[in-house]
């Protein structure tokens, strides 16, 4: 399978209070590839993700998805990405299963939901409201989306936070499977991943040139 270009970023820059947050970013991502975004705290990793998912508008530069400019393929792009950020998006008063259904694509079968819950070890909690779960379990509810999603481009901002070894192994498994089936992903993590082969890109905080 020839690798196709999924994402291309050209001189992407973001200004906050008239200062660039990081050195302009240029990079490419092909299918089957993973990209590890590194950077010190405050280098703008979270902001970078928010630009990628179109929550923030870049001050300069452009993003191409499958060779098309972003404005031309907004719908296709947004339908084909999965984003899991610091906040899980899990509603405390909804049950585990209701939350997962809400966050999964249309027509996800009941079997698939059950499978997803089983793989994150929450199969016995399906009907429990999420406010009764621990922080790690909360996180697992959101991460169960990795099983149900059909998106080909994943954005995972610190997916390993608040997880035990088992949880980390689960995500690594999902990521590997996604890459093997031709998906692509961008993720950030403070932990070193041994198992996933990923290119890394270091966000440099912007330094003023006098």
């Amino acid at each position: 399978m020839a690798a196709t270009n999924i994402l291309k970023i050209d001189n992407l820059a973001f200004e906050r209070n008239d200062t660039l947050l990081f050195e302009p970013v240029s990079l490419q991502l092909n299918s089957g590839e993973a990209l590890h975004i590194e950077g010190a705290n405050g280098a703008g990793k979270t902001t970078f993700f928010q630009i990628l998912i179109n929550l923030l508008e870049p001050s300069a530069g452009s993003i191409f998805f499958r060779g098309q400019t972003f404005s031309k393929c907004r719908y296709d792009y947004l339908s084909d990405i999965l984003f899991i950020g610091h906040q899980s998006g899990v509603k405390a008063t909804l049950s585990v299963e209701e939350n997962l259904r809400w966050m999964s694509p249309d027509n996800t079968s009941a079997e698939k939901i059950a499978l997803a819950l089983q793989s994150v070890g929450l199969e016995h909690y399906a009907n429990m409201p999420c406010y009764r779960l621990s922080a790690g379990q909360h996180r697992r509810v959101a991460l169960a989306r990795l099983v149900t999603t059909t998106a080909s481009l994943w954005y995972l901002d610190e997916p390993f936070a608040a997880l035990d070894k088992q949880g980390v192994a689960f995500i690594e498994g999902c990521m590997q499977q996604h890459l093997n089936s031709g998906g692509a992903m961008v993720f950030s993590s403070h932990q070193d991943l041994v198992k996933i082969e990923a290119r890394s890109y270091r966000l440099q905080s912007y330094r003023e040139v006098m």
């Binding site: 200004e15 906050r16 209070n17 008239d18 003023e208």
Partner: protein
Amino acid sequence: MNLHLQWTWFHRLGSPRWFYQKTQRWLPWLSFIMLSLLVAGLVWGLAYAPPDAKQGNSFRIIYVHVPASVVALAGYYLMAIAGAVGLIWRIKLSYMLMRSAAPIGAALTFIALVTGAIWGKPTWGAYWVWDARITSMLILLFLYIGVMALRHTYSSHEAADKASAILGLVGMVNVPIIYKSVDWWQTLHQPATIKFTGAPSMHPDMFMPLVVMIVGFYAFYAVSLILFTRAEILRREYRASWVKQLVTDKLAEK
């Protein structure tokens, strides 16, 4: 070619530096026009215009009250339009204008309210009457303060600019509705209060100084807006080399 020229002009106009340098030359002229209009209008209105048949000399406060109200209202539209231009064309200068317009407009609205209250005492026998225009002015003051206060919600001024612009636009749609509603509410509740008749029924001797004062207030508004915006430009562009150059030049002069 023509289009190209227009675009360069457009972008130069959008450049804070261009604005700063151009207005340096405009300011003395504008200030001169403003001062002469205000002095002429005040002397004419306060000393030479005939006293009002019913209100005597107390009516003369309209030479401050009316221009302040007129310019305060127009200022809201200017602020909202500047915000819209910023949102659509992403021109930083226009956000700076919007930000500068808010406190000036709020101050003028406040002046209009205070002079209205002072005028109300001899006319109605009370400092505050829920007259349609005064009520509308009060709401306008709240709208201005809202735009000013909203900035502090955001830590990045790019977001603050956009939020204020959105609020300004929402307000712009609402201002006519608010004015009409208050007018209607007024006629519903107080059908027979003293109506301040508009310009046509005023005697030209009274009316002309008012026109001079209104134009003078517009000039005052322009001068203050330019001064505020210049300060805003320096505050935001302090990293730019031309601002640094400007500061070293100023220091060298001393």
